[in-house]
């Protein structure tokens, strides 16, 4: 990695940069925000990486080299290979692999956004980046590659996820230590993180981002955890993860009414056996079934509703007599 990075800096007549390896993209984002907004120093970050203090003090280190990396990698390394080999299969190859890369990047970006709670993600250098493996891996098999390409491949092979290339510092973080998928290719792990960095694990249930608690300690899930979650898909994950029995036990649900919707799918109105001690009223749920995926969803509805049609119609602000969707997908 070090030798390969030095190769590029030498090409640009820059002195050898200091290499600083952070643990995961969240730290890289935090550092990036630190550089963008120098007023607020993240003491925790500095405590973990003392070199960051030096970096922040180094005025020269603060200019980004993103544009130069872009020009070199996209313009000088990738384009000539594209012209020379004229690969008929590359677009097809890229199309076939792109969803996997995109899903992974989106899952990680989603995790970053959740951590940053509303702060906008800093714009990252497109190169060097793990996603470059999409095309670089293909060209790796080409008969002739350049010294520059080989140096770039060495950076990717060293396990880089993304980097913050500065004039006198090259700050980077590695790709996840492990990725776990279900049989359909969705990020998923019932035992631990699906995207694992040592100090930044990300959890998914069949592709849906969920909390560590749901995966690592499902027995500690309380009613409030479920009701606090407002995303219908994540709620479905709660139900699937806990299992129908544990989920019903969590709420001690009794069936009040049942019918099929106009697509023939089951819909049920369920109510807790006793009033909830905190809410001081019965909790009531409409359990509906998606006609496309057959997945079941629990939606909390007001306790005064007595029929399942009334309950499902209420979720769209309708009376039971006004709610008759002729097609549901």
């Amino acid at each position: 990695m070090e030798r390969a990075v030095h190769f590029f800096y030498r090409q640009w007549n820059l002195p050898r940069p200091f290499l600083l390896r952070l643990e995961h993209p969240l730290d890289l984002v935090k550092l990036s925000l630190q550089l963008r907004d120098r007023a607020s120093f993240d003491s925790e970050l500095i405590a973990r990486y003392p070199a960051i203090q030096e970096l922040l003090a180094d005025q020269k280190g603060q200019s980004s080299l993103a544009r130069r990396w872009w020009k070199t990698v996209a313009g000088e390394l990738a384009q000539p290979l594209l012209r020379e080999t004229r690969p008929k299969n590359l677009p097809e190859f890229m199309r076939a692999h792109r969803p996997w890369y995109e899903d992974l990047r989106n899952a990680i970006d989603g995790g970053l956004k959740r951590e940053l709670k509303g702060l906008s993600l800093p714009k990252f250098a497109h190169h060097p980046h793990f996603l470059d493996r999409q095309w670089a891996w293909y060209y790796r098999k080409a008969e002739q590659t350049t010294e520059g390409f080989e140096a770039y491949w060495a950076i990717l092979e060293a396990g880089l996820w993304s980097a913050l290339p500065l004039k006198s510092w090259f700050v980077w973080c590695p790709a996840p230590q492990s990725l776990t998928y279900d049989a359909d290719g969705n990020l998923h792990n019932a035992e631990g993180p699906s995207i694992a960095w040592q100090h930044w694990p990300l959890y998914h249930w069949h592709g849906i981002p969920v909390s560590a608690k749901l995966i690592e300690a499902p027995e500690s899930i309380a009613r409030e955890d479920f009701l606090r979650e407002r995303n219908a898909e994540v709620r479905r994950c709660f139900q699937e993860r806990l299992g129908a029995e544990a989920f019903s036990r969590l709420f001690d649900l009794r069936e009040i009414d049942r019918d099929t919707d106009l697509q023939g799918q089951e819909q049920v109105l369920l109510r807790t056996a006793e009033p909830d001690p905190v809410a001081k009223e019965f909790l009531q749920f409409a359990r509906v079934t998606c006609s496309t995926t057959k997945r079941r969803y629990f939606l909390c509805v007001p306790p005064q509703l007595t029929s399942v049609w009334q309950a499902v119609a209420w979720t769209f602000g309708k009376e039971a007599s006004e709610y008759r969707p002729e097609r549901e997908t």
């Binding site: 407002r230 998606c290 997908t329």
Partner: protein, 116 residues
């Protein structure tokens, strides 16, 4: 006439003109949260108005004027590939309102919009 795609209900409006709203070029009607999924309206001759009163009490998010037919699709917001979670819904020319699904929070005694 009503069609449902996941947490979105599309309802035909029998009216001479659309209710008042803010015109928008945005065709991503509902963006999923944290998953890069969304409900997109695809069609050339379509007018979309945002409902300024949209909220937990008035769950109509948009009004649609569909002149030559349109399709409601559930797509990945970055790649625009179908998610395979919901099939397309074909909308005949006409006027429609887009209604978001909501639910009750018994602890806050509040009504909240669901996020797909």
């Amino acid at each position: 006439m009503q069609y449902r795609q996941g947490d979105v209900l599309i309802e035909r409006i029998i009216s001479e003109k659309l209710p008042a709203g803010h015109p928008t070029q945005e065709r991503l009607l509902v963006r999923g949260e944290g998953r890069f999924h969304g409900h997109f309206l695809v069609g050339d001759e379509v007018e979309v108005l945002e409902n300024p009163g949209f909220g937990a009490e008035d769950t109509v998010s948009h009004f649609l004027e569909v002149n030559e037919g349109a399709v409601l699709k559930h797509l990945h917001t970055e790649t625009h590939q179908p998610t395979r979670e919901h099939e397309d819904i074909l909308l005949e020319p006409g006027r429609y309102r887009v209604i978001r699904q909501r639910e009750y929070n018994p602890y806050a005694r509040a009504i909240q919009i669901l996020r797909d």
